[in-house]
Amino acid sequence: MTSDVEQRWVVVELRLLLVAACVVALCGCPGAQDEARSTSAPAPGGLRAVVDPASGELTADPGVGLESLRVQFREEGFSTSDAGLYEEEMADGTIMLDPQGRFRSGLRVTVSDDAEGASAGER
């Protein structure tokens, strides 16, 4: 459960993020781009986490930003594409593959209304 305090914290961080994203977008900060390449696959959306998926525009609305972040997590994590992945051969002939956060699996909960109200896990 996320407390109000946590919500505010996320909002603050998303706003910082938006500023950073704007800076990157406007001046093309090479350091930031290098870091992005080194830590993550060229995932769908990249920094679009802060873009309103409905309008396609940068938004300062924290709710939209959070939703966008959720969408990005799902898209990145559930991606099953090996495009851009590379194999690394080790000294003993073992081959290593870094999936870069892709090929994830998820577990869902569905809420259904019944006589007693909402309940988890009813199918």
Binding site: S40, T94, M96, R108
Partner: protein
């Protein structure tokens, strides 16, 4: 990756708190949350049942680690499994959402110990199979998990809340972190494919371990043998996509739903509309047994339990723990007229081991280990044929690489390995020790297996010679249960009884055959809708002069436990009883009658659906009436049971139950009177296990009886008459010959130097150090088990007392 993306987007210092859980494999939680968030949340919380945490973060850590502990007790790995986990925003609405998401940090192929070449294995599994971290310099998690931090807040499943109790079924409005973690970790262990769901292609062009067992049933092909287009179509072939790994097939008979009934194939979730991240990587929603749903269904239900998950992971290559208990004759001369052998996974290093324990005190007598890379599936007791102090212990094992089916035979008193029997089989289900009927001085060992063709086979080998005695092939069918009967046909050999399910009609059959000739003596259909999983042999109380067989199983479609008692001579069904008490049945044993009826009683072990606790049900075999129902008080996951003659002074026999405590991860043995009274219990494995690692020092009396008398003080060796190398290790003489006495081969060293095992020549000879004269001892035995060695060394470290 998800977490690195989160770190990039939320540039705060990463706080990593490491906590460990030790079991057969050690799982390490690495917290991937910022300060005051997720697992580090300092908000005060009222205590919840079974969780000592007083802050939100502490409660989360405790529940998460409890689930890691459960996996640690189920799997075997010498390499710590690093689980990097944190809380973040996952997709959700008020009606539907993701509660957790998991993946693998790296995949590997062509590594040392890989079961198949050119096949991707997840990091933790590659480590377990090769015995070393494949990428020690890479600090990402072997398994990476994100949990939904917004659940319960406005707009995200707001009517629900996280539940941090441990071992409690999910349900109502509660989302159990314990259950979600069990589920997500299984994905990280390899429960999922790397196939591209947009075009059916393999990752980088190679198979993965999971897809090898995915079958498109109507096509009759597994995914590794399909074209991209065929795999793409199979992804959404609802009801037709099956998991067909051999271990899963052999244990799917207990499923009341979720099989390709009447077949044994396990249905995989493949809805006609592709569900990214969900399709294929889960089992079908219909999987159930005894009113429990399988842990790897794609939606969190109220009764998720790893019914088949372990077996599927074993099919991927994981060495899996199957704790087993068997009764032995008394070998320590103390207390009870019986002792017992417990098969479990010990620690330091993690590997399967057998603990021989006293049946009264439950204290260990001796401990010996098995090879690290095998799954030990079953255990039996072979009548002593080598004139040592005790019977032999036979352990049925399976190794993924090379698909090796072997039985290791060890002396129960010394732990020394005597023999390895190899079987030509793809995967075994169970093993029975058969009293010798071939004229050999040793018993026979029969394994119950299924060939690649689907045919059931019983293979019998003589323990002494290793020769194959019998090969009996049964129809291509779903293997149910196997046992041995006293002869009903008048031959000198015993009979085999096999229960199986016809894969075309779904009818369960029982068949009795003579062990020597293979002649079918009885063949009959069991009741409609009965799915047999285990059996117990009973003395005759009805029908013909032959004995009876009690089959345990579940009712098809309903999942209730059922017992069917059949006359072995005629095949007539004497009693069918369905029990409304919903539990997932694990095993059945016969005990002596105490209710005053003509028939024996039956003890049934199961896991209750409503609270996941261990259930012990005692019934009268003739009437089916329930005599006693006992629930073990703690949250214990049941594994096995064995019968010992009455210890408690009541009229009823006693049973030894083997369980794992869900919260603590300890493997426990309970001695219980069949009427329900607990006579004793002891932790035998897990964090507080009495065996694992063998750090407990032997007494000198134990060394004498279990090592010197059993393997050294023999004619031609170190008995009073032979005294090779001037050393007499006979009882009464040995202590004076060893402690503080110079070695005749290396006079500069004492045979035993108290507190200095490395300067004790005895240890050097037992280890086979390079500076000894002559050969390693015991001669020709391949060395003592590591645990026995550890306990002798511990005795020297304690000053080598004459105790």
């Amino acid at each position: 990756m998800i977490r690195s993306t989160l770190r990039r987007l939320l540039p705060v210092p990463l706080v990593v708190v490491v906590a460990t859980s030790a079991g057969a494999a050690t799982f390490v939680l690495e917290i991937d949350d910022p300060p005051n968030q997720g697992f580090n949340d300092p908000s005060s919380r009222a205590k919840v049942a079974g969780n000592p945490g007083t802050t939100l973060g502490e409660q989360r850590v405790f529940a998460f680690e409890a689930a890691l502990q459960e996996w640690g007790n189920r799997l075997v790995s010498r390499v710590d499994v690093r689980v990097k986990a944190g809380w973040g925003p996952l997709e959700c609405t008020n009606n539907d959402g993701l509660v957790g998401m998991a993946g693998v940090g790296r995949y590997f192929r062509n590594f040392p110990g890989a079961p198949k070449p050119k096949t991707w294995y997840p990091w933790a599994l590659a480590n377990a199979l090769s015995g070393a971290d494949r990428a020690p310099a890479v600090q990402d998690g072997h398994i990476e998990i994100t949990l939904n931090d917004d659940l319960g807040s406005g707009g995200c499943l707001s009517s629900l809340k996280w539940d941090y109790r441990v071992g409690v079924p999910a349900g109502g409005r509660n989302v159990s972190l314990f259950v979600v973690t069990l589920h997500e970790v299984a994905h990280g262990l390899g429960f999922g494919t790397l196939v591209d769901t947009s075009n059916g292609s393999k990752a980088m062009g190679f198979n993965d371990a999971y897809m090898l067992h995915l079958e498109d049933h109507s096509l009759g092909k597994t995914w590794d043998k399909m074209t991209n287009a065929q795999r793409l179509a199979s992804l959404t072939d609802d009801g037709d996509l099956h998991f067909i790994g051999p271990s899963a097939l052999l244990h799917s008979t207990s499923l009341a739903g979720g099989r390709n009934d009447p077949g044994s194939h396990v249905l995989v979730h493949a809805p006609s509309q592709l569900d990214d991240g969900i399709s294929v990587n889960h089992l079908d929603l219909s999987l159930s047994s005894g009113n429990l749903d399988d842990l790897m269904e794609p939606r969190l239900g109220p009764r998720l339990d790893p019914i088949l998950t372990d077996h599927i992971l074993q099919d991927l290559g994981w060495p899996v723990s199957h704790p087993t208990v068997r009764t032995l004759e008394d070998i320590d001369g103390a207390g009870a007229p019986n002792d017992a052998a417990v098969l479990l996974v010990g620690q330091d290093p993690p590997r399967h081991e057998v603990q021989v324990i006293d049946a009264t005190s439950l204290e260990p007598i001796t401990v010996f280990g098995l090879a690290a890379d095998v799954s030990a599936l079953d255990m039996g007791v072979v009548t002593n044929y080598r004139n040592t102090a005790a019977s032999e212990i036979a352990v049925l094992t399976w190794r993924t690489k090379g698909r090796l089916v072997r039985v290791f035979v060890h002396d129960a008193s010394s732990g020394n390995r005597i023999r390895i029997l190899s079987f030509q089989a793809s995967y075994p289900k169970s093993m029975v020790v058969v009293p010798s009927y071939t004229g050999s001085s040793a018993d026979e060992i029969a394994i119950f297996t299924v060939l690649a063709s689907g045919a059931i086979k019983v293979i019998v080998k003589d323990v002494q010679s290793g020769a194959t005695v019998t090969n009996q092939t049964y129809p291509s069918a779903i293997a149910g249960a196997f046992g041995v009967l006293p002869s009903i046909g008048g031959s000198a050999a015993p009979d085999f009884v096999v229960a199986y399910v016809d894969p075309t009609t779904g009818t369960a059959m029982m068949e009795v055959r003579d062990a020597t000739s293979g002649a079918t003596l009885t063949s009959s259909a069991l009741p409609m809708d009965f799915l047999p999983t285990d059996l117990a042999v009973l003395e005759n109380f009805g029908g013909t002069a032959a004995g009876e067989v009690a089959f345990l199983g579940v009712k098809r479609g309903k999942g209730q436990p059922q017992v069917v008692v059949v006359d072995a001579g005629s095949g007539a069904v004497l009693r069918t009883k369905t029990y409304s008490d919903r539990f997932h049945p694990r095993g059945i044993e016969a005990i002596a009658d105490y209710a005053g009826t003509p028939a024996q009683e039956l003890v049934i072990l199961g896991r209750r659906a409503s609270n996941l606790r261990t259930r012990l049900l005692v019934i009268d075999a003739s009437s089916g009436a329930a005599l006693t129902t006992t629930t073990v008080a703690q949250k214990e996951n049941p594994h096995d049971l064995a019968v010992i003659p009455n210890l408690a002074g009541s009229a009823a026999d006693d049973v030894l139950l083997l369980t794992t405590n869900v919260a603590e991860g300890d493997v426990k043995v309970f001695a219980k009177d069949a009427r329900g009274q607990t006579l004793g219990s002891r932790v035998v494995g897990g964090d507080d296990g009495g065996g694992g690692g063998g750090a407990n020092a032997f007494t000198f009396t134990q060394i004498q009886s279990q090592v010197f008398t059993a393997t050294c003080a023999l004619a031609g060796c170190h008995n009073a008459g032979s005294q090779r190398a001037g050393l007499n290790l006979s009882a009464g003489a040995s202590f004076g010959e060893l402690v503080g006495v110079a070695s005749s081969q290396r006079p500069a060293l004492n045979r035993v130097q108290p507190n200095q095992p490395d300067n004790s020549y005895l240890i050097k000879k037992l280890r086979g150090d390079s500076d000894i004269q002559g050969s390693r001892m015991p001669s020709g035995a391949g060395g003592l088990s590591q645990t026995t060695m550890d306990r002798i060394i511990a005795w020297i470290n304690e000053g080598a007392p004459n105790n």
